[in-house]
């Protein structure tokens, strides 16, 4: 009797072929993108989205062509922070064109499509029970977005990842070895512990882990123009990857993000300088062939 591998095709639906075609559309769509960079953590609330947007701004100021994909479909924030919430998606000749920030960064965020009063929902034959299928559906949506947006010829596509160490690894699996990672932590043992899990998980795959950024490394007081401690100093456990820099917390930055005014008058502040320095290190890492590849070390 014939076995599974003796039979060509599945007799109708071509499920495997359809999945392969989806992957092909993603590969084709990203052909003009020089670097794929995911900003993740594992931990929520550490400032991944803020860092993504402002590092993109600092890199854009260096002349790079950049797009951001807000991959946090369930808690999207880039549309609001980047100030593109009301800007439409325009049908191009074959694919969809993305709204851009004032400084020319293309942004895809579910926040542009779904009002903040609504949660992302999918139609389901399973009537709930979303734990059995939801992650698969979200990755199919990600594939659809990647394959249907006109990314064009750009230097960098940055992915603002959702929280969860397991999600971080799923993005690595889905997008393959082209994707490099930067992880974000804050000066708290709890956060570093979660990030350490992401490092451990990513180290089992082929993706480049460029390093980590410590966000909220202090509090920038505009009245005295000084950075003060925000967390009680401790002896943090080493993450085993390079530190690309530290960024102090600036309430004005948070306010501007809420208003959708990224990178306004920041360059001459400690926060702005931190973004600028980290952006340069990132650029050096992305172009270097010696960047950390934990799985081969």
């Amino acid at each position: 009797m014939k076995g599974y591998h003796d039979i060509v095709g599945d007799g109708g639906s071509r499920i495997l072929e359809q999945v392969a075609e989806q992957r092909g559309r993603i590969t084709d769509g990203l052909a003009g993108v020089r670097h794929l960079l995911a900003v993740g953590s594992g931990k929520g609330g550490v400032g991944k989205s803020t860092l993504t947007l402002h590092l993109a701004g600092a890199l854009r100021a260096r002349g790079l062509r950049i797009a951001i994909l807000d991959a946090d479909f369930n808690g999207p924030s880039q549309a609001r922070m980047a100030g593109v919430q009301g800007a439409p998606f325009v049908p191009g000749r074959h694919k969809v064109l993305l709204p851009r920030t004032g400084n020319g960064i293309a942004v895809f965020s579910m926040g542009s499509l779904i009002p903040e009063s609504e949660a992302l929902e999918f139609e389901s034959a399973a009537h709930g029970e979303s734990h059995t299928w939801r992650a698969t559906r979200e990755f199919a949506l990600l594939g659809e977005i990647l394959g249907s947006v006109e990314w064009g010829a750009i230097d960098l596509l940055m992915f603002d990842l959702p929280p969860g160490a397991e999600r971080t690894v799923q993005y690595a699996d889905f997008l393959g070895p082209r994707m490099s990672f930067v992880l974000v932590t804050i000066p708290s043992d709890v956060a570093r512990g979660v990030v350490a899990r992401s490092v451990a998980a990513l180290s089992k795959g082929p993706n480049r882990l460029l390093g980590y950024v410590e966000n909220m490394s202090g509090y920038y007081c505009r009245d005295c123009n000084a950075v003060k401690p925000l967390f009680v100093p401790s002896e943090p456990a080493a993450l085993g990857i390079p530190c690309l820099g530290t960024v102090p917390f600036d309430p004005e930055l948070a306010r501007q993000c809420d208003l959708g005014n990224p990178l306004t008058e920041l360059r001459e502040t400690p926060v702005g300088r931190a973004f600028d320095e980290i952006a340069q290190r990132l650029l050096d890492c992305l172009d270097a062939k010696t960047a950390v590849r934990l799985s081969s070390s």
Binding site: K2, Q22, P88, P91, S112, W133
Partner: protein, 142 residues
């Protein structure tokens, strides 16, 4: 998943897929040798597991031409659209502009349509053609 007609030792071919019934699909396969037919009846979890891959289930000719980009949150988008156009003059789309709209994923279309119509109205146009789409692209710096 593949189906084998054991007496003929021949791979069966998908014939029809009935519309979903309470989450279940009835997928009929037939043996090209002896004509024996059987139906695979999925439970809701099985149906959803396959649909979550973003693929279509059906005979080969259907899946090659199907639009796989069904809007996953269609129920939410019309609320935005309706609010945006309420009380405003209808805007007509030319066939060429509609064709460009049809090229983009279903889940983006309602938002794109609403945004372009708003842009057209703000610019005194009641018909959206490719020139308006290109003007919107320029205006929004795309």
């Amino acid at each position: 998943m593949k189906f084998l007609c054991v007496p003929c030792d021949t791979a069966m071919k998908l014939q029809t897929v009935a519309p979903p019934d309470r989450g279940s699909l009835a997928i009929v396969y037939a043996c090209p040798e002896c004509g024996y037919e059987m139906a695979m009846l999925t439970n809701a979890y099985e149906t959803q597991a396959v649909q979550s891959l973003g693929v279509r289930i059906g005979p080969e000719s259907d899946t090659k031409t199907a639009d796989a980009s069904a809007c996953p949150f269609a129920e939410m988008i019309p609320a935005i659209e309706d609010a945006a156009v309420a009380g405003e003059t209808a805007v007509r789309w030319t066939a060429a502009a509609e064709a460009r709209l049809a090229n983009i994923p279903a889940f983006v279309r309602p938002m794109a349509r609403t945004g372009i119509e708003r842009f057209a109205r703000e610019n005194g146009a009641l018909e959206i053609d490719e020139k308006i789409l290109d003007a919107a692209r320029e205006f929004f710096g795309m």
